[in-house]
Amino acid sequence: MLIRSPKSWELPESAATPEADYAQRPRSDAGPARRDFLKTLGLGLAATSLLPPALRAATAGFPAKVNRAYRDPELKPTPYELITSYNNFYEFGTDKSDPVEAANKGWKTEPWTVELAGLCRNPAKIDVNDLIAKVGGLEQRVYRFRCVEAWSMVIPWDGFPLAKLVALADPTEDAKYVKFTTVLDPKNIPGQRTGTLDWPYVEGLRLDEARHDLAFIATGIYGRAIPNQNGAPLRLVVPWKYGFKGIKSIVKVEFVAKQPRNTWNVMAAREYGFFANVNPKVDHPRWSQASERVIGAGGALGRRQRTLMFNGYEKEVAALYQGMDLAKFY
């Protein structure tokens, strides 16, 4: 059972910094990402002078308040530059170097409307910045990120718990799953003009997973609006599952009775399941999942570390899967 305690970061909208002021704030000058990160934590600011100007996406709610409950001092965040240039976003190409280029060539992520639909009492179409205000602003959480391809990062996300969005939509008793859909815009999204995957990208969670406090909607990274290549203006982050569950650039959140077929499962059911929980004991058909490469760590040869059950969130989420055969429901 989860006991909800009032959160220190729940701010009224009036407390959010206006965009103009935010832009005026002093920037830290060039320095290693780690220092930027400490600044982010300390001041709610990230160094942006180093970064190329990106299209702004969801701009409301910054600076996000740091949530200290999700700040494991053991976790060393991956440099911003790597988080934002090593992406699997097949809508913009199948190489991890593609999205940073292709997603910033005129694809607009502002303005952006999200639709809440299906078996819920409050269906709505809502602007992403209004949504941020409605759920009470942003907080920053530092999460492990584990890709199904056996590499990992540590990412300081800015966003809000998915549970708040679920509460806003207020699903009926018939709703058992949440289905998420990515934007479909072949005119401006080059990958969607090819048949690489079955567009638009679809993902899903069981309703109890979606309500879990760790499930997160991210609208920022390192205290700035999330870049296009990382799924602007809002994406899902489910830190105990493989990265492909973290659907990007969401336009629709639907409450449904039946388990949705997620895109990678449609593509290759044997390789990608619905649950996709990080599990060192359940291999991918083509490689072992027992360990992972740590992106941007360990110098020339890099570093490999053991993969943790549920990506290190076993204590928090194991109860969701009690009695389930995780090798069968992979």
């Binding site: 530059e81 790597l82 240039s85 090593y86 097949y90 199948t94 190489d95 991890k96 170097s97 940073v100 391809e149 590499w151 690489t196 995957l197 990678w264 593509m267 290759a268 390789e271 291999d283 058909p285 083509r286 490689w287 072992s288 027992a290 360990s291 490469r293 992106i295 941007g296 020339a300 040869l301 890099g302 570093r303 490999r304």
Partner: protein, 219 residues
């Protein structure tokens, strides 16, 4: 009437020379240095060893397919100086394919286990149980055997028939490599087509030509 031998073009003359071929074989292996050290591409720097791993596999594959085109080209264009020049270097290019496969495999061991040999058994166990990895491993072993048995002294010791039988396994290696490359990605990599389709076309043309010639000579 036999066609008059053509005068070799500048390219053919260049390709007759061993140092030129050596250079052409070594350069692709050095390519990863560019994004890592010169342009400092962050997408590559995120996991440079993975980039090197994939690149070496790709080069091994391309060099293998390249050497496999030499025989069908010789059957189809026996008098072309360029084809003759290429066929002077069959063994060198074949051994280079094996060398790149060895570098690719060594990088895989490094990528999976670092410099700690304690991980070797686990890495090999995984390789044996995953078809994607096993196909690459078998192809590598085949190329290794062919490289070791490539000197003339060994050909003489084995005899032409046995030697030829062993070296025909290169076609199995190529098929395994094609599968290995296809399954290396989450979605079908188109590059596999533009590497292997020209080879298949050449082999088909070669078979047709050989059949025609044997039919012509038996009449």
């Amino acid at each position: 009437m036999p066609p008059t031998p053509a005068t070799p073009s500048a390219l053919a003359r260049l390709l007759q020379r061993k140092p030129v071929v050596w250079t052409l074989l070594v350069l692709p292996g050095l390519w990863p240095a560019w994004p890592i050290f010169v342009t400092r591409n962050p997408s590559v720097l995120a996991d440079p060893l993975k980039f090197i791993l994939h690149h070496l596999g790709f080069v091994a594959c391309v060099v293998l397919v390249t050497v496999l085109t030499f025989t069908p080209l010789r059957v189809l264009f026996p008098h072309a100086p360029l084809v003759q020049a290429l066929n002077r270097h069959r063994r060198l290019v074949g051994v280079a394919a094996a060398a790149y496969a060895a570098l690719h495999f060594a990088t895989h061991l490094l990528y999976e286990g670092g410099t700690d040999v304690a991980f070797l058994p686990a890495i090999l166990a995984t390789a044996v149980e995953k078809p994607f990895q096993l196909t690459g491993l078998i192809a590598f072993v085949i190329l290794l055997v062919l490289a070791v048995t490539s000197p003339h002294a060994i050909l003489r010791r084995l005899g032409a028939r046995r030697w030829k039988f062993i070296h025909r396994f290169v076609y199995l290696a190529a098929a395994l490599v094609a599968y290995h490359q296809i399954s290396a990605r989450k979605v079908f990599p188109v590059q596999v087509l533009w590497i292997f389709v020209p080879l298949l076309a050449l082999e088909l043309a070669r078979i047709v030509t050989s059949l025609r010639r044997s039919a012509g000579s038996s009449r």
